[in-house]
């Protein structure tokens, strides 16, 4: 039994967010006025403080709360990404929510609760902790998807996400119960010990259902159906949040559970991951070609990117995990940058949502056009932008482990996906200008600047990300 102060010190970010959410809820409820007043500023501050606490020099690995929760370098890296995703989404949301008149104080509170769930999910070290974290995250996400409740599309998005999400939770629980029935324990390390050298068909079925549930949260094919509809229907800052933070958490727990609990069934999970990764890359590349709505396009793009990222998991090596971590960091920067750009362009009273809206952007707003073009090039993976290195670091370990064909197909599909990214660049630079855009707020511009530095100059000084990812990957093994 560890002393309580030790456990509390290692759960500090979760405690800050959960406690902060309760305080803000009280503050909002007792004020009972219109709008969210100071709540979202405070929520942003709390996320920032939680982010800072990750840098506290605590010793490497701590298993606390009776083995349910692990605090290690891997967890801190992914928590940092998830917190950044939530923080930036909240920054981006303020102007949009006020304009759409949906700036109730519950929104930042729900984002805080969802982020708490993500952190718990990232740190889960047994199946119960995993499920509770996942549900806390998902429940809050269902609500924020439908937050614009008078909008039919947002309500539809929320309902669809809820029904399919409940189904996926069911599958995850079914898989967990099969695994528990076999191993007699819910702890990841206990499962690994039980499986060691003794693979039962029950475990394999359990693994399949478990990964199906997690793939739903990562929106990987064949569990991606909800993604385009939900991304299109939800308010844009919520879409930005969906595309960033929850993916970090889902990817983190997938890596953790596969590496910690299932090293004994490597060929089995490899098959599943290869299958999902190939299909996701293919669907992300081909299905996005016909899209005209930018949010739908980003949805397919995110499906494709999850496929690319999971290529790094296939070899199951430390190098591969490091690749996935770098990929997630870069994907986060690019996605948040792209959504910041979407949220900073308004035509009249309406936010830009379709590709034709962007026509001739280069002549009306040169710097924005340059930024968008750069983000698209980076998403497509063109050197020397960050997106290229992301793909390099996941394909390299796959090739080292002998998965030549997977890497080759991946590169070919990445060429296909370049088509639709470049089409946006073409519309921006070569089409006749549409209407002019209205001016933007400072914080959105700030996000744009940070994202563009990250994307453009990653190759100049990649060391911080690379070192952090290397240490994080090492702590998982």
């Amino acid at each position: 039994m560890t002393p309580i102060s030790f456990a509390l010190a290692h759960t500090l970010p979760e405690l800050i967010l959960a406690g902060g959410a309760l305080v803000l809820l009280m503050l909002g409820a007792f004020r009972a006025g219109k709008g969210d007043w100071i709540i979202s500023e405070l929520a942003i501050g709390l996320l920032g403080i939680a982010l800072l606490t990750l840098f506290f020099p605590l010793e490497g690995k701590a298993l606390i709360w009776d083995g349910a929760f692990i605090d290690d370098t891997f967890g801190r890296f992914m928590k940092g990404l998830a917190l950044m995703g939530a923080l930036v989404s909240l920054l981006l949301s303020r102007e949009y929510m006020a304009r759409e008149k949906i700036d109730q104080f519950e929104f930042p509170v729900l984002i805080l609760l969802a982020t708490t769930g993500m952190l718990m999910l990232i740190s889960a070290q047994n199946l119960i902790g995993l499920y509770l974290g996942l549900e806390l995250m998902s429940l809050a996400l269902y609500v924020v998807a439908a937050f614009h409740r008078d909008n039919v599309r947002a309500s539809e998005a929320g309902l669809k996400y809820f029904v399919l999400g409940a189904l996926s939770s069911g599958m995850l629980l079914y898989g967990s119960s099969l695994i528990y029935g076999f191993a007699g324990t819910v702890s990841f390390t206990g499962i690994a010990d039980a499986i060691h050298g003794n693979v039962s068909i029950g475990v394999v079925f359990g693994l399949v259902f478990l990964l199906a549930g997690l793939a739903f949260k990562m929106s990987m094919v064949p569990f991606h159906m909800w993604t385009p509809d939900v991304y299109e229907g939800a308010p844009t800052p919520v879409t930005a949040f969906f595309a960033s933070a929850p993916k970090m958490a889902a990817v983190a727990i997938t890596l953790r559970i596969i590496i910690t609990a299932f090293p004994g069934v490597t060929p089995q999970w490899q098959q599943i991951v290869v299958f999902m990764s190939l299909l996701s890359m293919a669907l992300g590349s081909f299905a996005a070609i016909g899209q005209t709505n930018l949010k739908r396009l980003m949805a397919y793009s995110s499906i494709g990117h999850m496929g690319f990222a999971m290529v790094g998991l296939v070899p199951g090596t430390e190098q591969g995990i490091r690749g996935v971590l770098i990929y997630m960091a870069i994907y986060l920067t690019m996605t948040l940058g792209a959504f910041a750009a979407l949220l900073s362009m308004r035509v009249g009273e309406r936010y830009v949502e379709t590709i034709p809206d962007l026509a001739g952007l280069s002549r009306t707003n040169g710097s924005m056009a340059f930024f968008l073009a750069m983000t698209m090039f980076s998403l497509a993976g063109i050197p020397p932008l960050a997106g290229f290195f992301a793909k390099l670091y996941v394909f390299q370990p796959a090739i080292d482990a002998g998965f030549y064909w997977l890497a080759t197909i991946g590169v070919l599909l990445s060429v296909v996906s370049t088509f639709y990214y470049l089409r946006i660049v073409k519309v921006i630079y070569f089409d006749a200008p549409a209407e002019a855009f209205s001016p933007v707020k400072r914080e959105v511009t700030g996000v744009l600047w940070v994202a563009s530095f990250g994307i453009l100059l990653f190759w100049v000084y990649p060391a911080p990300v690379l070192t952090a990812a290397t240490n994080a990957a090492k702590s998982l093994f």
């Binding site: 109730q104 519950e106 809050a140 003794n198 029950g202």
Partner: protein, 201 residues
């Protein structure tokens, strides 16, 4: 066959039967009543396992609160369930196919079932002999499992916030009773007007 086994088969048969009737019953009120029957039988099964606390909680929480609320919702909402169920059967072939696939998987799993050797000793944590199982649950719930307990609390809080955010509407034109205003009113606030006949105010 002893009494415990007889009761086990009784409870399980009735439970499976009523669970099926929940989805098969035409009248939604009957569905909810069958659901209550299923809960009661499940609590009987818990009783057979010697888990009295869980059995009673199931009756109090699920039968007493949740199912009765369901019943209210079903009765108060004017939803045409017969119409909702139309077209339900057209998905039957696909559903049956998936169901059959899952069933085959289950048979495969159960047929080839082996527990991990290490698991057999560790599985199941018996109630300590000197205490009741309510006390045994209480001893671990707030100590060993405090993290899960708090996390589950947060999940419920989120669900509650979500339900309020999505459904509560403040209607401005609804007149509410404000007792303080009523009590503070005196004669000077009251205006008396002579209303001419057939002219209105």
């Amino acid at each position: 066959m002893n009494a415990a086994a007889a009761f086990f088969y009784l409870f399980s048969t009735v439970m499976i039967g009523s669970a099926f009737m929940v989805i098969a019953a035409r009248n939604p009120v009957h569905s909810v009543l069958f659901l209550i029957l299923a809960f009661v039988n499940a609590s009987g099964l818990f009783m057979l396992l010697g888990a009295e606390f869980l059995a009673m909680i199931l009756v109090i929480v699920y039968v007493g609160a949740v199912a009765v609320l369901f019943l209210f919702v079903v009765m108060m909402l004017d939803v045409d369930f017969a119409e909702l169920k139309q077209g339900f059967l057209q998905y039957l072939p696909v559903g049956a196919l998936i169901g059959a696939a899952v069933l085959i998987e289950l048979v495969l799993v159960v047929g080839a079932w082996t527990m991990a050797p290490a698991a057999i000793g560790g599985a199941g944590s018996p109630t300590p002999p000197d205490v009741s199982n309510t006390l045994a649950i209480g001893r671990v719930l707030y100590t060993k499992y405090v993290y899960f307990f708090q996390a589950a609390g947060l999940v419920l809080l989120t669900a509650m916030i979500g339900a309020i955010v999505l459904t509560l509407r403040h209607k401005p034109d609804v007149k509410r009773q404000v007792i303080a205003d009523q009590n503070a009113r005196d004669k000077s606030d009251v205006q008396l007007k002579k209303v001419p006949s057939r002219a209105g105010v």
